[in-house]
Symmetry: C2
Subunit: 309 residues, 2 copies
């Protein structure tokens, strides 16, 4: 089994002028996480990759998150440890640069699995996580989209799908330990306090050493209705490959609730998949000496891990 | 297929002096919901039953909820409609008498599936749901337990399991439509903002007309780690009965994460189960002219639906 890390930067339709930025971002995050995976733990690798993406303003997570209807950033994030099924999540959290690291602290430092809103902020303070001004997470691009979606004829769900989503990662390390991490600003112009799939175990992420791991992206409410991450892993438990299980889960979501999205998936043997029903999904995978990446359906470009970018 | 409603009032160890109250409560809630199920929709029936239990101070939902570490009531609730996989949930909501009805409003009046904390309160106000003083939800019993658990040698997880839990219901109506509803004050002395299984689709409830419905109770964090409701329904999709699927799901939860709990489960043919690995679970089921109920393992007492209590 070869250790592997697979990363996504969101499913949807990525505007032409943002394509190169998105692809470069997921490649860089994958390289950063994969460096940690060399002799390291899958949990450290997925948190590293997702932290990297949270810090890039062109992704909808951390700085660069979409804005809620009030023009504010509220974020969801989750991690899961496939060894023990331990998990940590935060929902509707504000003023934090890296929600994925706070989710990990919920897993490691509390007896709970999810903390929300002001309770999550209090926990962050108790853990010494620095509070950042809400404005520092807001990009001009996010504010422009927010204003556009306040127009009376706007369709926020369509616009949400049309741009870029959630970020996430799954990994298997040399010890066979599996982990996932997902982080998001959620849905553009969402109601205050809206919790999407990302904070919800089995929906926005799931990891089990016995089966594999999934990190989804797409229309959060659709992902929740079919508990997409857990659904795909059930298919894999029934004998489907990571590729087949991902496709069947995504097809079920389209058929049952009309939802589009994408996933990155691994199994315990390090076999991985990056699959989507949306127009595009920025993704990258690192295994052995090779970095794979793609954006359009069927695309799988390879380069050496050692390449500069 | 005979329409059926199955209700639980929480898994755990119920103190002797509260046994009769618990059993009478679930029987009354089942009768109230079953009256609605006569010619009515399963969703109306489960919400009626759960509302009834939220209004009884001896259950851990609505008035009578356990208190968080600050001595306050924060509640989670979820409903799901098996026809469309639509769902609504609220997490960490305060000052609401009937969170289950607010969860239903999230499903019916928003494009989201879950609203949390202050955002949920704002939505309640916008919907004209009356705000109630926090103190009106706090019973002397809840305050006594909270104080006891602040003692340095207390073990809140153990104490939580030792008393009473979440309430919930599942139903199939004459049209074959399936629904579930679950409501809870959560875990005794939980951190502020802790979200448990109940607000999380696939964990604290799931309903699908093609497979069945499950409403769980027990240690929330354990239920989340195995996505208990969805897990049991996956087993039923593989051919297990509601009884066998429930037992296998609960056994998996015990084996993988050491968690105890219970569930009420129905399948599309109206075959039902009330199963638990905890010492006790107060439950009742109504089908045809018969009301079944029980508290201890293996117990199934029957009486006529028409009996006065």
């Amino acid at each position: 089994m070869l250790p592997v890390l697979v990363v996504h930067g969101g499913a949807g339709h990525i505007p032409k002028e943002r394509v190169e930025m998105s692809c470069a971002g997921v490649r860089a995050a994958t390289r950063a996480g994969y460096a940690v995976l060399q002799g390291g733990w899958s949990m450290d690798a997925v948190v590293e990759a997702v932290t990297h993406l949270e810090n890039i303003p062109s992704f909808n997570a951390g700085c660069g998150s979409v804005l809620n209807v009030k023009g504010e950033v509220e974020m969801d994030a989750i991690v899961m440890d496939g060894r023990t099924l331990a998990s940590g999540a935060v929902s509707a959290v504000r003023n934090i640069a890296n929600p994925i690291q706070l989710a990990r602290l919920v897993m490691e430092k509390t007896s709970h699995l999810c903390l929300t809103a002001e309770g999550a902020s209090q926990f962050a303070r108790a853990m010494g996580v620095p509070e950042v001004p809400g404005e520092s997470l807001v990009t001009d691009y996010a504010r422009m989209r927010w204003e556009k979606n306040l127009a009376p004829d706007a369709n926020p769900v369509e616009c949400q799908m049309g741009k870029m989503g959630t970020v996430g990662a799954v990994a298997v390390d040399a010890d066979g330990n599996i982990a996932c991490a997902t982080s998001t600003g959620g849905m553009l112009n969402k109601m205050e306090g809206r919790v999407g799939d990302t904070a919800c175990i089995g929906c926005g992420g799931y990891a089990d050493n016995r089966v594999g791991a999934v990190s989804p992206t797409g229309h959060g409410e659709a992902i929740m209705k079919v508990t997409l991450a857990r659904l795909i892993l059930f298919h894999m438990e029934q004998g489907l490959s990571s590729h087949e299980g991902s496709d069947l889960g995504l097809a079920t979501m389209k058929e049952r609730v009309g939802g589009l999205g994408g996933v990155v998936t691994v199994d315990p043997q390090g076999r991985w998949a990056a699959r989507f029903t949306s127009a595009q999904m920025a993704w990258a995978a690192a295994q052995g000496d090779t970095l794979h990446y793609g954006l359009y359906p069927g695309e799988d470009i390879t380069q050496s891990i050692g390449d500069p970018n």
